[in-house]
Symmetry: D2
Subunit: 377 residues, 4 copies
C-alpha cells in the first residue's frame, strides 16, 4: 500500500499575510513534511475554517415549478418506478455544491411523480422525510399500513425507520415535493435503510378520507390515553390544509383586531409540531407555512442553518442575499445559512391576495445543539 | 409565653405490640419528656406514617347532580355574587376530611352558579383551575381579556396567576363545575391571590363563538410561530366538545376495525394536554374524558393519587373500593388514592348508548416527583 | 349506614363581612342543607383557602441539641431497636401542627440513636430520606449491600425504595439526624413500605472507609460509563465533609479575591446534587450547607415552602419571622413557608469562626410544579 | 451570468442495474435536461445516498506521537505564534477526506505547541474545544480571565464563545492536543469568531495550582448555590488526572471484588460530564478515558459517529475495521462511523500495566437528534 499523502490540489503553500511565517526553504521543507505525515497547519487555514460568521458554500437559487413538473412528467413517460431505483424523484442540486443532489448542505428537496396506477415500493430508512402537496390529488402514502390521502396544501411528515410506500389511485399523474435530511445523514454517516415488500397490499389500497393517525391524534390539545407519551417524532401523519389555512387567516384577523398574533405586521406563520412534545415535527427538520398579506413585507432575517421554500399560493418578490425573484405557485428556492431573507407579497390587481410560502429547514439541529443564532434586520 | 406541649389528644401511650418497648414507669416518664420537648417517637407511629401502601383518609362518595343543582339554584336566590365572596360556588366536602371543602386531600370540586346578567368579579390566584360544563350555556369566562364561550362538554383550563371573571349573558341561570388544586396549595402553603377589577369591562362582554386563544392555538399540531415556546401551562383556553366527542368515537371505531386505539375493549379515553409540550393541561391537574361502550366495563385500576369524576352522559355502574353506584348525567364521585376503580356502561333498552365520564386528578404531581404507581387488575 | 353530615365543629355560620349574604332564616336553612349534602360554600371560606400570600400553619421553633441528645440517650437505655418499631428515632413535632411528628407540613426531621453493637433492621420505603451527622462516628448505613461510613459533616442521601439498615460498629452510642418527606407522602397518600431482613448480614458489617458508590461516583464531573444515565435520584450515597468544607472555604476565598462566588457578602452555600442530572439530590428534598463568615449576615429571604436547619458549627443568631435565637452546634429550627429568614454569625472572641448551617427543604416539589417563588429583602 | 449546470465530473450516466431505466437516446436527452435544470434523479444515486448502513468516507489511520512531536517542534523553531495565524497547531488530516484538516468528517484533532515564554493570543469562537495533555507541563490556558494549569492527564473543556489564550510559563516547550468540532461547524455553516486582546494580561499570568472554576465546581455532587443552574456547557474547566486515574482504578478494583462497575471484564471507563446536568461535557463532543487491564480485551463495538483516540499510557493492540496497530504513549488514531473497534492491552514483561486510552467523539450530536445506534460484538 502506498503511503498516504495529501492530494496535490490542497498542497500547502507558504503565503504572506497576517500571522503567516516568512517563506523560506526551511518552511517549504516543513510544509512538505506535514503533507507526508497527513498534517495541516491551522495557521494557513484558519480564515476558512473559523470565519467571523457563516459564509455558506451554497448559493441562493430558484427552480421554476413549470420546469420541475415538465421534466418530472417526461421522466414519467420513460423511467419506470420500482425496486432498486425506489422512487421517481428529482432532487434540486444547489449550483455550488459540486453537482450533489443537495438543495443546501443539509437538506434534500425533490419533486416526486407517480403515473396513474403506479406504486412506489415499500422501504424504510433512518432519514426523516415529509411530503408537501402544492397541487393535485389521488395518491395515498401508506405508512406502516395506514393509508394517507395527499391533497393540495397537506403536509405529511414521515419520521425515520417507518415502512412506507406510495400508490396513485387516480387517473391522472400526480407530483409533490419530498423533503429529507439526506445530506445531513450522508455527511454525519448515520444512515440505515431496509427494503420492504415490493407491492402495496390490496388491503392498503383503501382510500380513506382520514387516515388512522388523524383519527387518533388530529384534535387540538387532545391525546389518546392509550398511546405512548413523549414520542421523538410526531404520530400525526397528516396536517391538513384546511387547518393551516384557517390558522393563518385567524392570525391576520387577530392582528387586524389589535391583538398580537403575527411575526410582524402582515406576516403570519404556523409551525408543524409533534403533538406529544410541542417541538418540531421531525427531529432534524422544521416545517412552517408563512402567509404575507398583500402589500406587506417580512422582516429581513438571517439564521444559522438553511431553508428551502416552495410558493404555495399567490405571487410576490423574495430576496435572498443579493438575489431577488418574482415568484409564483410552485416555485422553489433556497436560503443558505446566514444569508438575509425577506419576502414581499404582490398587491393583486383584483381582490385580496396573499403570498403563502411553505418552508422547511434544519433549525432543530442547531437548537438541539444550542448553536442557533438569529439576526433580524 | 407558655411552653409548648403536644396537645392532649395525641399524648403518647405505651402500647404493646411488635417492636414496642415494655410499659414501665420509666417509659411513661420518658414519653412525658418527649411531649414536653415536642418530640414524637417513630416506633409508636410508624404503622400510620409508613403503611405498606396508601390508605386514604378520604372516603369514596357520590353527589347527585339534581341535588347539587337544586342547592346551587337556591343559593342563586338568596346569596349575591360579588367582591369578597368572589364566587357562588359550592364545594364537595369529602365526608372523612373533617368538614373541609376538599373532595379529596388534594382536589377541590365545586358547582358554580350564575344568575342571568350576573358577573363574578375579576381576580387571579396561583392555584390552577378549570371549568367543565355538563349542561347549559350562556356564560362567558373572560381570561386576560379573552372572552370564552362555555357550552355543554367544553373544558376550559385556567392556569395560575391569570386574571379571570365570569359573565352570564343569557336569560337563564347557568351551572358548571370548577376544579382546582386548592387543597394541595393550602397544604403546601404556596398560595397567592390578587383582586382585579370589580366589573367586567363592557368591551369584554363580547360573546364570540371562538375565543382568541382558540383562534391562535386550536389546530391539531400547529403552533403560531410568534407565540412563546414550551409554556408550563396550556395557552389553549377552550377544548370543545365536538373534538372530544369525535376523538372518542374514532377510538371505538378504530377498535372495531381491528386497530389498537383504546385502553381496553370498549374503553376509549382522551387526555387534555398543553399543546406547547404535550404534557398535562395544568401543572398539578390531569383532566380526561372517558367513554365506555354500552355493555363494556373498564379494567379495575388503582393509582397513587386521587380523582374526581363527573358523569357527562349515559348511565351505568361505577365501583370505588367497596362502594358501587348507579350513576347518571351530572353525578359526581371521588376515587381516593390507591382505591380500586372500575366502571360499567349500562346496555340501554334502545339504540346505542355509552357512558361518558369526565375525570380530573392529581397525577401530574406524582409524575413530576417520580412517585407515580399504577396497578391494573 | 347513617347519612354523612359535616362534623359539628365546622358548621357553617352566617357571618357578616364583605361579600357575605345577610343573615336570615332562609340563609340559615340553606347552610343546613349544604351541610346535609356535604357541601361547603366558597364565599365563607375564601379568605382562608386563598390568602394573598402563604400564611403557614407551622410555627418557627427551636430544639436544643443537648435536649435532643439527652432524650435520645435515655431512649437508648430503655427502648429497644427492632422489627416493628424499626428505628429509635425522635421526630420534631411542630407546636402548631396538632401533635403530629412533622417539623413542617411537608418535612420530617428526627434524631436517631444507636447503642454500641445495635442494628436497625432492614426495610425500604417510597419516602425519600437522608442522614446528616453533626457529631460522632462508628455507624455504617448499609444500602442495597453497600456499607457507608457515617462521620461528622457527612451527608448520606437515601432515595426511595432502596433497602437499608444501620449498624453501630463502635463502642459508643451514636446520634445523627434523619430527614424525610414523610409528611408530604402521608398527605399525598403515596407511601409504600416493605420489610427486609431482620439482621444485617455479616458480610455487610464491613467497615470500609469509602463505600462502593463513592468509589464509582465520587469524582467531580466524571461518570462511570457502565452505569445508567439520568437517574431520578442520586447514585452517590455519601457526600463527605472534607469536600463540603473546602467548597465553602473556597467560595469565601474567591469572594475575598474579588470574584463572584457567594450568595451575598460573607455568605457561601453549596447544594447537594444528583451527579447524573445536576438537580436536587432527592426528588422532593433540597439539601444545602451554608457558611456565614464571622460578623456577616445573610440577606432576609422568604420562599414558598419550608426548611429545617441544623447548626453544624459556630454560633450566631438566627431570625425566623418574629422569633430570634442564639444558636450553637446541633441546634435545630424550622422556617415555615413564606416566613422571612436571616442568620448572623457571631464574631468570636478569638480566632476566625463562622456559622455553618445545614439546611434541608421541600423546594424541589415547588420547582417541579412551577410554583416556586422567592423574595429577597 | 451564465446559466448554472452541473459540473461535468458528475454528469449523469444511464447505467444498467436494478431499478434503472433502459439506456436510450430519449433517456440520454432527459438526463441532459436534468443537468441543465440542476436536478439529480434519486434512482441513479440511491445506493450511495441511502446505504443499508453507514459506509464512512473516512479511513482508519494512525499517527505516531514521536512524529507529531518532532514536526511540531520544528514548527516551533520557524513558525511564530501570533494574531492572524492564532495557534501553532497541526491538525490530523484523514487520508480520504480530500486533504482537509479533518480527523473524521466531524472532528478536528491537532497537536498544539508553545515555546517557552510564548503566548497564543486571545480569541473566542462558537466551536467547542478541549485540551488534553499526554505529557509535559508549564502552560496555563486562560479562559475568561481564569488561569488553568495544564498537566499530564488533565482534560480542559472549552465550550463555545468563551475568551481564551495560552501562556507557556515554563522554560521548556510544551505540546498537547486540541479537539474541536470544526469540521461539523464548517459543514453546518454555523461558525462565529471574534478576536480578543493580543497579549495575555500580566495579572492573568498567575500560575495557580487550581483555577477558579475548580475551586467553585470541583467537588463531587456539590454545586455552588450562587451559580446559574443547568448550563448547556460545563462550568468546570479542568478535570484532573488524579481523579480520572482513581475512578478507573476503583472500577477495576470493584470488578475484582465481584461488583458491577466495568463495561466488560477488564475494561473500565469514565466519561467527562457537565456537572450542571450530568450530560456530555460539551454539546457536540463526548470525551472519555478508558482503561484496559493488562491482558484484557474490549468488546468489539460499532457506533454511529466517529471517534479519535490518543494512547495515554501503556501499550497494546487496537483494531479498527481491517486495520490493527501496536500502539504506545501519545499515538493517535481514528475510528470512523460504524467501523468496528476493539483494543487489547499488552501483558507487560514486568509489573502490572494497563492500556489507557483517551477518546473523544461526536456521539452527543446523534443522541440529541435521536439518531444514535450502537452494536456490540
Amino acid at each position: 500500500m502506498p503511503a498516504h499523502t495529501l492530494p496535490s490540489p490542497v498542497r500547502l503553500l507558504a503565503t504572506s499575510g497576517p500571522g503567516q511565517p516568512e517563506a523560506s526553504p526551511e518552511l517549504e521543507q516543513l510544509y512538505r513534511s506535514f503533507e507526508r505525515e497527513l498534517l495541516v497547519p491551522l495557521w494557513t487555514e484558519i480564515g476558512d475554517l473559523m470565519p467571523v460568521h457563516p459564509k455558506s458554500k451554497a448559493t441562493p437559487h430558484l427552480w421554476r415549478w413549470e420546469n420541475l413538473v415538465a421534466l418530472a412528467g417526461r421522466a414519467g413517460q420513460i423511467v419506470p418506478v420500482g425496486r432498486g431505483g425506489e422512487r421517481r424523484a428529482l432532487a434540486l442540486a444547489n449550483p455550488s455544491l459540486g453537482g450533489k443532489p443537495y438543495a443546501t448542505p443539509t437538506l434534500w428537496a425533490a419533486i416526486q411523480y407517480l403515473m396513474p396506477g403506479e406504486d412506489a415500493p415499500e422501504h424504510r430508512h433512518s432519514q426523516h422525510a415529509f411530503r408537501f402537496i402544492v397541487e393535485g390529488e389521488g395518491v395515498w402514502t401508506v405508512v406502516n399500513g395506514d393509508s394517507i390521502r395527499m391533497s393540495r396544501g397537506d403536509f405529511l411528515p414521515q419520521s425515520g425507520w417507518n415502512w412506507h410506500s406510495h400508490h396513485n389511485a387516480a387517473s391522472a399523474p400526480m407530483a409533490w415535493i419530498d423533503g429529507l435530511d439526506i445530506p445531513f445523514s450522508c455527511y454525519t454517516e448515520s444512515q440505515f435503510f431496509e427494503f420492504g415488500r415490493d407491492q402495496v397490499a390490496e388491503a392498503e389500497k383503501a382510500k380513506p378520507e382520514r387516515c388512522r393517525s388523524e383519527r387518533l391524534w388530529g384534535y387540538p390539545g387532545l391525546r389518546p390515553v392509550a398511546q405512548p407519551e413523549q414520542l421523538t417524532a410526531t404520530p400525526l401523519l397528516a396536517y391538513r390544509w384546511a387547518n393551516t389555512d384557517r390558522a393563518l387567516a385567524e392570525q391576520l384577523a387577530l392582528e387586524a383586531e389589535g391583538h398580537p398574533a403575527t411575526l410582524s405586521p402582515g406576516h403570519a406563520a404556523v409551525r408543524y409540531t409533534n403533538p406529544t412534545n410541542g417541538r418540531d415535527v421531525l427531529p432534524t427538520i422544521r416545517a412552517e407555512m408563512h402567509r404575507v398579506r398583500a402589500g406587506a413585507q417580512t422582516e429581513v432575517r438571517r439564521e444559522v442553518g438553511s431553508s428551502v421554500y416552495q410558493v404555495f399560493d399567490g405571487s410576490g418578490t423574495v430576496t435572498v442575499g443579493a438575489r431577488a425573484w418574482m415568484v409564483a405557485r410552485g416555485d422553489m428556492f433556497v436560503v443558505p445559512s446566514w444569508v438575509p431573507f425577506s419576502a414581499r407579497a404582490e398587491v393583486p390587481a383584483s381582490a385580496a391576495g396573499s403570498l403563502d410560502l411553505f418552508r422547511f429547514g434544519d433549525a432543530p439541529i442547531f437548537e438541539a445543539l444550542h448553536a442557533q443564532r438569529v439576526r433580524i434586520g
